[in-house]
């Protein structure tokens, strides 16, 4: 049994899955729209949360949040289930929902994804994909970050759903159970933008929002001195990976947000959002420049502080740009 489900490649897995699931149920909202409504834009530097022993700089809120917020703001009810240490039950439940002709979103670890580029197969557990059918021992998978739809064997899928480590999915699966006839898109958009602006401007902890970018800029200058050239390069490399590696749509989600703003301009019939989209594109371009310069610095594993100072200065510039941007956009949603 294979459902008539359209595989749509997306920039980011979480938004991509929701967007495709809603489309199956007749609601057309783009990935960018889901991302904006779900307040997916963020910055956080978390020295206390480490990935591969390196502090995380994140350009999005914690996994699952975009999804929860978008659904709530759109009035969509989702059924969510997890199955701690019950892989058999988790697989049986998935089959049961598929039998009802409902595609199912699942959270999984990428390490065991046999179809994934090997270079991306790290122990990262907050990946999302849609299961849209089963024949014998094979599940049909629509993974938004893949160009084409793929498959997994039951054994592989079980491993993916029960990957261990941080953010372990515990077999998490989800699907929409009720979608309202009328959706108040404008109100959902306002809520999404307002929260992002507040997060970026007003969280009273220096690790988040534009303050977080400035704080990390300060720390980053000291990396070569404090950590030595090899560790410093690893730290900087991880930042570039958070910005660009699979599932950000480029520049740490900044381009997806710019795409969202263009859609908002149309929904609101307000050209000012198009202007802001252009500003956001410039911000994204600067983050791309950051990645490009940072990668060069990493490449030689040089401990020359110049490379680090250059990108740190660029970050300060970006922080100012993002601050100005969110002050401006806040004026539009009052």
């Amino acid at each position: 049994m294979k459902l008539d489900f359209e595989h749509i490649p997306a920039g980011h897995c979480e938004n991509g899955v929701i967007s495709s699931l809603l489309k199956y149920h007749g609601l057309n909202l783009s990935e960018a729209m889901i991302f904006g409504i779900g307040s997916g834009y963020f910055f956080a530097y978390m020295p206390f949360v480490k990935l591969n022993g390196i502090p995380i700089a994140s350009f999005r809120p914690v996994p699952g949040m975009i999804f929860t917020k978008a659904a709530k703001r759109l009035g969509i009810k989702m059924k969510k289930q997890t199955f701690r240490k019950q892989p058999k039950k988790a697989m049986a439940e998935l089959d049961k929902v598929l039998e009802k002709k409902l595609p199912v979103g699942i959270q999984g670890g990428v390490y065991h994804l046999s179809y994934f580029p090997p270079a991306y197969r790290f122990h990262f557990n907050a990946h999302n994909m849609t299961v849209y059918g089963k024949e014998d021992n094979t599940y049909f998978i629509s993974d938004p970050v893949m160009e084409y739809a793929t498959t997994l064997t039951a054994e592989e899928l079980k491993k993916v759903r029960f990957a261990k480590g941080p953010l372990s999915p515990n077999g998490k699966m989800y699907y929409p159970i009720s979608i309202p006839e009328e959706i108040d898109l404008k109100s959902a958009i306002h809520k999404g933008i307002k929260q992002t602006a507040d997060w970026m401007l007003t969280i009273p902890v220096p690790l988040f929002g534009v303050k977080g970018i400035r704080y990390l800029s300060k720390r980053l200058r000291k990396w070569p001195d404090k950590l030595g050239s090899k560790r410093a390069a690893a730290y900087l490399a991880q930042m570039v990976r958070m910005l660009e590696e699979i599932g950000t749509g480029g520049a740490g989600f900044r381009f997806i947000y710019a795409a969202f703003l263009q859609e908002v301009a149309e929904v609101m019939q307000d050209d000012r959002y198009n202007e802001l989209s252009k500003e956001m594109t410039k911000i994204g371009d600067k983050w791309r420049k950051f990645s490009s310069l940072a990668a060069q610095t990493c490449k030689g594993r040089s401990s020359d502080p110049d490379g680090y100072n250059t990108v740190a200065n660029l970050m300060l510039e970006i922080a100012d740009d993002e601050e100005r941007f969110f002050i401006e956009i806040k004026k539009l949603i009052k």
Partner: protein, 132 residues
């Protein structure tokens, strides 16, 4: 970023997939463009794998000099640390640490060896006869 500037540098996803990149088309509108890759991404990904290879090499040195068991090699190879391996093998960390030493490794029974082999996706034979 403009559509015609979306980089198409072959690299880590070659022959497997292309990634969605948001970019502006000629009419000034954003659209999803498929990208083969970007050199800065290749560089930092390569660096991450180089570090992993160094971990494996370090493990192998320790095994050769009798300071570590083959589990250390496979732990590094599967990108795990003690915490994650303990999670997979469902044992407390101190026990896993013991198995990382040659002395503790020798005491493993057949079932325990099979459990480790299964997690590393190798045979018991490969686990026992690792020649680093």
């Amino acid at each position: 970023m403009e559509k015609d500037k979306v980089p198409q540098d072959e690299g880590i996803t070659e022959g497997i997939t292309r990634e969605v990149q948001y970019a502006i088309n000629k009419n000034g509108k954003y659209e999803k463009v498929l990208s083969k890759g970007w050199e800065p991404k290749n560089i930092v990904n390569e660096l991450a794998w180089k570090d992993i290879q160094e971990d494996i090499d370090l493990a192998d040195e320790k095994i050769k000099s009798g300071k570590a068991s083959p589990i250390m090699h496979y732990m590094a190879k599967t990108l795990m640390n003690v915490t994650l391996l303990a999670d997979y093998i469902e044992l407390p960390k101190w026990k896993v640490k013991r198995h990382l030493k040659p002395k503790g490794f020798k005491k493993l029974n057949q079932q325990q060896l099979e459990n480790y082999a299964k997690i590393f996706e190798i045979s018991v034979d490969e686990l026992l006869n690792l020649k680093p």
